[in-house]
Amino acid sequence: MGIQRGHRARPLEWLAERVIFTISLSAIMLILLIFIFVGREALPIFLGRMDSALIQETIPPERMNELDPEELRVYLDLSPRQFAGMDRDTLQMLMEVRQEALEEIPPEQLNDPDAHANTTAWRYLLFPHQWSDYDRPRYIWQPIGNIHKYNIVPLIVGSLKTTLIGLFFAVPISVGAAIYVSQLARPRVREIAKPTIELLSGIPSVVVGFFALLVMASVFQAVFQYETRLNAFVAGIALGFAVIPVVFSIAEDALTSVPRSYTQGALALGSSKWQAAWHIVLPAALPGVFAAVVLGFGRAIGETMIVLMVCSASVMSWSIFDSARSITTTIAAEMAEAVAGGHHYRMLFMLGAVLFAVTFVANLVGDIVIHRLKRKLEGRS
């Protein structure tokens, strides 16, 4: 495809071609920019350069003259540009503020070992820790108060819980529907069913979340008789609604791209339509179905509004009838109260970077699998 004859001798044509080529690199550039700028805000956490300890060593303001400028800048946590714009009095005042902040810490916390802990260190993020007012080590995400607890395990569990429920609900239904629509249905039914199912992806996720919150949560509670009205189960099923169109269209596309001759051969040998679909077409398109599930996983784990509206309490629990707080929900709910550049802010960016990395890999795997399958089915080498 494309026009084969070039007119490189004309300067205008050449220029236009260059411009078009440069602009077409924007998708690659944007992916890189996302990596760089989400990563940049999260970098101090990844490198362990952030210190969230409540009690930090302070230098008395009188000793300011003994410090060289670079030490002072690092101590006050200023950027070089900010530092250059400040005169001596402002710097002195900042040092006094640091001193006063230390004096305002309630006395009972001065002896608390947790007050000296840098809670953004990896061992606090990943492993349970026995906080001073708890009787045993626990996984806690609680970025409020004087000592921010940043254990990300409950968030990962929350994300996986809702995502897996969503996939368990959505995958069998969507793949079943894809088999029916692409292989078994009459053409008239297919022409109506396919766009209708694709219309489901047109419902904004905030509307699905609203529906789950106001209607589904009450209906499910009446049916299943569980305690917490808003829980991971409701959120997971609602997530399934968002995943169904994704899995359906990719699986349907893969099944349709299996050459007609496969089915015709099977039918000619006496198999029924169903047998041809199940034993011939589905195995041939299986990588495509796998890719559909992987991409559906990426969609589900990245979905924000549905889980945010349906459940948001952060509890460490694998029970599907408990509440759950996913990674996306945490970012959306807490960014407004995080101070720009502070440890909470950077922690949320770190979660975003992890999420981006996970979905990036899922998308890449899905893309490669589909590409290979199409190439194989089309008989190109």
Partner: protein, 321 residues
Amino acid sequence: MNRPPNPAPPDSAKSFRSERFDFASFFFTGLTGFATLLIVAILAVILLNIVVQGWESLSWRFISTIPKDNFFDPASTGVLPMIVGTTGRVFVMTIFVLPVGVITAIYLTEYAPSTSPLTRFIRAAVNNLAGVPSIVFGLFGLGFFINFVGRNLDALLDSPGPTWGQPAILWASLTLAVMTLPVVIVATEESLRAIPPGLREASLALGATKLQTILRVVLPQALPGIMTGGILAVSRAAGEVAPILFTGVAYYMANLPSKLTDQFMDLGYHVYVLSTQSPNIEQTRPILYATVLVLLMLTFALNFTAILIRARMRKKLRALG
């Protein structure tokens, strides 16, 4: 061996099939058919629920009112600023995303050597961009547009306070433009591929240059496809809330936004606020349903138009062979 000498030849294709009732076939066809029906039913239940309940409380007054301080009060609230905000951010987004998306698609179909690794790389990036979680776009908008571009603009222009380096309709629109770029690229590419190569060859044979051919022959033909892409991008962006959470949306604003650096109120975000932060959910329920209905009408009208244009285009393509 008592076989009948000459079995009667089958008179229809049907008698080739086994006479036995094929239970597995019947069962599994039914099961997959049921799955299809279930999805359609889910869609129908959601839509019916919203349309029936929303229609009761939808009125012209509701659509055309700017709410005073308390928008949870059903008697005095309205959604005019949210409609303006959502339409505005989507409009600004279109200005940015359409040119970039269309030009990328032109490169991919008209210029790019189809087997080169770079082309494959661009395609992979486009596909990958389509799968990035919307909240990550929100973080990207905050980290790149506001904290990097905006703050540097402020420093460069010597603004008195933060003018550019804060959430604004411009940054929200740009963030959404990044998010919807793949939608425009894929739709435009599809329509460009549908144009028979003969048209291009005829144009070139008459002495037109490659650029002239693209501008005067290929693009006019692809216009419906480009429109579909634009509409799909708009309908996708209109309902998204996560990317604008940190880049421009406001909980409440007394006035309509008037410049690109203003914040704005938004329909989708308003649905979120009404359903999670209402002091009395039973009292807000009617206006909540009405707001959802307005949002759905906006996105569905767009979606439906796109599907119609696309169906027509496919038919035309089939007719061309």
